[in-house]
């Protein structure tokens, strides 16, 4: 006997299911946060050298945070090489994981689709964390003086913009967009369909 097809998903049903899934997904994310930070350290470790080059010493996950150690020559130290340690809270950029999980589960996605959706969020999370670190580096001060005085105002503005996008826009928007891509058919089917075209008259002659 073939299994019955699931009833079509209504908006109300979807919202209710998403609301019910949200709590366990957030709980799982909260407890997995240290492990997720460790995983995120890898793509961030690949991105940062493109901007910081040899100054980047290491990116490590520690107690759920990401610590980045740099070696620099701040002007306040008259060219002496010093190490700077910066810290980022990756939860600020990964809270989209429980959101996309709840949405995908609410729309009855397969495990594979759920996993793909989660993986698709990684570049956006890496952007946010990387931009946060670059913001801290670009605007860092040592003894009241810019740590990187050679950094031009244009570069600082670009870093600030990348940080705003990475912290304010991408974390809440990306999970919803990713879910939408996987469920485009259901979303677009929500609009009442066009009535069927009237058949042409039997005589084929035009009206009066």
């Amino acid at each position: 006997m073939p299994p019955e097809a699931a009833p079509p998903l209504t908006v109300c049903g979807f919202v209710l299911r998403a609301a019910l899934w949200l709590a366990p997904c957030f709980a799982a994310w909260h407890f997995l946060a240290p492990a997720l930070a460790g995983l995120l350290a890898h793509p961030v470790g690949w991105l940062l050298p493109a901007f910081l080059g040899e100054d980047l010493r290491r990116v490590v996950a520690s107690a759920g945070d990401l610590a980045v150690v740099l070696a620099g020559n701040p002007a306040a130290f008259a060219g002496q090489r010093v190490e700077l340690e910066l810290s980022v809270n990756p939860r600020l950029y990964t809270y989209g994981l429980p959101v996309v999980s709840a949405l995908m589960l609410a729309s009855r996605a397969s495990i594979g689709a759920l996993a793909a959706a989660i993986v698709l969020l990684v570049p956006f999370q890496a952007w946010g964390v990387t931009a946060d670190i670059l913001r801290q580096v670009a605007f860092a001060k040592v003894n009241g003086m810019p740590a990187l005085p050679w950094l031009g105002p244009g570069t600082r503005e670009a870093v600030a913009l990348a940080y705003q996008i990475g912290s304010l826009v991408l974390p809440p928007v990306a999970p919803v967009v990713v879910w939408g891509v996987f469920n485009a058919r259901w979303v677009l089917a929500g609009r009442p369909p066009a009535p069927a075209a009237a058949p042409p008259s039997a005589s084929g002659s035009p009206g009066p």
Binding site: R91, V99, P171
Partner: protein, 165 residues
């Protein structure tokens, strides 16, 4: 679908670029943020007369606790996402305008609820306040935008009938 995603992305970039300019910040975002603070405080004063609003800051004269409404908490980013999603979707212009107007009220309504809840959470437990402020409410506001958009799509008129062959 591809056209919608491209239009949505371009509109999003355009609206956020406009939003961060100095004239828009001075003449729209700042007054809007103060209005959010005032409305939130007015709602709380119905049951807590000790609440006052000064500019974008809401404070309790009883406990001394205060919150400042900053970028990301004034509902404008969520509204920008909703406007971009509605404008990018093929629909009659009047329905788009109606969707934006109704959506603005619904999103800001939930945003004011966010401000009120965080104000009292902060007075109760700082750790819970941080968690709700940084993660949970950010997610809920964007889910509100999604639901408003989905309902708006379902309230659109039928698509035009295809021409008979």
């Amino acid at each position: 679908m591809t056209r919608f995603v491209l239009s949505f992305t371009v509109l999003l970039a355009l609206l956020f670029t406009v939003e961060i300019t100095v004239p828009v910040q001075r003449h729209f975002v700042a007054p809007w943020t103060q209005a959010v603070a005032s409305l939130s405080a007015a709602g709380m004063q119905a049951f807590d007369p000790a609440v006052v609003a000064r500019g974008r800051v809401i404070a309790s004269q009883r406990s001394g606790f205060a919150v400042s409404i900053e970028a990301g908490c004034n509902g404008i980013e969520a509204l920008i996402v909703l406007v971009a999603a509605i404008l990018a979707f093929p629909a009659p212009v009047l329905h788009k305008l109606a969707g934006i107007a109704a959506g603005a009220i619904l999103v800001q309504g939930l945003n004011i609820l966010r401000v009120v809840s965080l104000f009292y959470l902060g007075q109760w437990n700082q750790a819970v306040f941080e968690w709700a402020h940084l993660y949970l409410w950010q997610a809920l506001i964007m889910l509100d935008v999604l639901v408003v958009w989905l309902v708006w799509i379902r309230l659109l008129p039928r698509e035009p009938a295809p021409r008979a062959a």
